[in-house]
Symmetry: C2
Subunit: 253 residues, 2 copies
Amino acid sequence: MDRTAHKVLLKRLNLVASIDSEDEAAIGALPVTIREIEAGIDIVSEGQYVTQCCILIDGFTYRYRHTLEGKRQIIAFHVAGDIPDLHSLHMNYMDHSFAATTPARVGFVSHEAVWDLCMRRPNVAAAMWRETLIDGAIFREWIVGLGRLSGLSRTAHLLCELAMRMRAVGLAPDYVYRLPLTQHELADALGLTVVTVNRVLKDLRISGLVERERSRMVIRDWSGLARLGEFDPRYLHFRVPIAMAPEAMRERA
Amino acid sequence: MDRTAHKVLLKRLNLVASIDSEDEAAIGALPVTIREIEAGIDIVSEGQYVTQCCILIDGFTYRYRHTLEGKRQIIAFHVAGDIPDLHSLHMNYMDHSFAATTPARVGFVSHEAVWDLCMRRPNVAAAMWRETLIDGAIFREWIVGLGRLSGLSRTAHLLCELAMRMRAVGLAPDYVYRLPLTQHELADALGLTVVTVNRVLKDLRISGLVERERSRMVIRDWSGLARLGEFDPRYLHFRVPIAMAPEAMRERA
DNA sequence: CGCCGGTTTGACCCGCGTCAAGTTGGGTGG
DNA sequence: CCACCCAACTTGACGCGGGTCAAACCGGCG
């Protein structure tokens, strides 16, 4: 039987809280169904009532909504280890959709099983609660960016955030990571248009901050990018700071 | 002894989840310290590590952050019954500040006491978790607005949201409510400037959608406002829909 | 009465959106 | 192995929503 989903989940919960061996055993006993998701189609759609949630084992996913005029806003990106719809455990009406930009592997767990786990292991419930709160903290950060930062800073911020979150799960050593997003998708996350994103990325490249090759993102000057994006990783509330950004820290002091 | 904080808290938890009589007794036993907060000063400031959270008994409060250039972004508004910093229970570093626009009355409860309550009454823990998730759902909605709606629609949406949330706690019968905010504060929430907010409000008044008298907000044409703001109250995840907006519902079908 | 925070309005400007026209490169079929 | 296609990227020209600056105006309060 495939244990990767359990491993990924355990690792994540240990990253956000502290899990003991009994908790670990209970998590290991969770019934998980693994599914391969193809790129571009919804994993969950707005308007659905769901009875399970999923842990992302591999791939790059995002959550989004459309306005009435058909504009799309991406609300969140998710990488391996994230539990993108954990909130559905308590609010099973989906007010947004959830899809993958690349083929993805996810583990589905029924709400019932999660609920049962939470009741028996309050410690695990706390870790999961905390995970959803970090999700919320990221939303707040996006609000500040969308409301008050320029397109350039906002983009820098997003690139920093993704680097930091991927570092936390070992996917971005040396600030280089796979970013399988089109400029159109970036635009929909940043509240910009493709054209502007293109120009912003050019700016970042010319200033020597980042480099893009295919679907890889290379951060050439971390502290410069963090300063530009006003990025302070504390909002990610890692239990153990993965890697601080000294410049950004100093700025905000 | 003053029981209002307990009453308000109980009412809120009953609004978001279902609480039985034993839960109720446990909630009633919470040690709460009531404090009067004066307008304009921080209740909690960004950067602090907190050991208590608070339930808003009366008054109008908001959470915000500043950018490095000193621009302010308001992240959330809170009315009686809200628990604005419940997230601090699991992440005691504050990544934003919290203040009141009017004199406010809040009840402080130590994290320890809340944590203890959660451990003994999982049902209450679930209700509180859900409360924080609704907070997150509101953030998502703001992201969509900031990223993809015009200043006009965004403003309409905010006015709808506040009306709906205040109706839920009985503070906005007939879609009339007290909105003790300057146009400057509205601007900081909407990602606009005072000047633009002023013009937007004028537009809304001229179109017969809303009326403002002193610090009161009067919604004259609810369905028109909801349509303009693309407001669909489902994202608020009320257990029992307080009052639907028929037009908005139809639009999104 | 005069101050002062908040509101209102006008004139002008700029970041980003819109529209349009290439260009590039990986994938496919002949 | 080349010809072609198409999605993604790139760049230029121009327009608009909302920002900026500046000047009243209004009303509550000392």
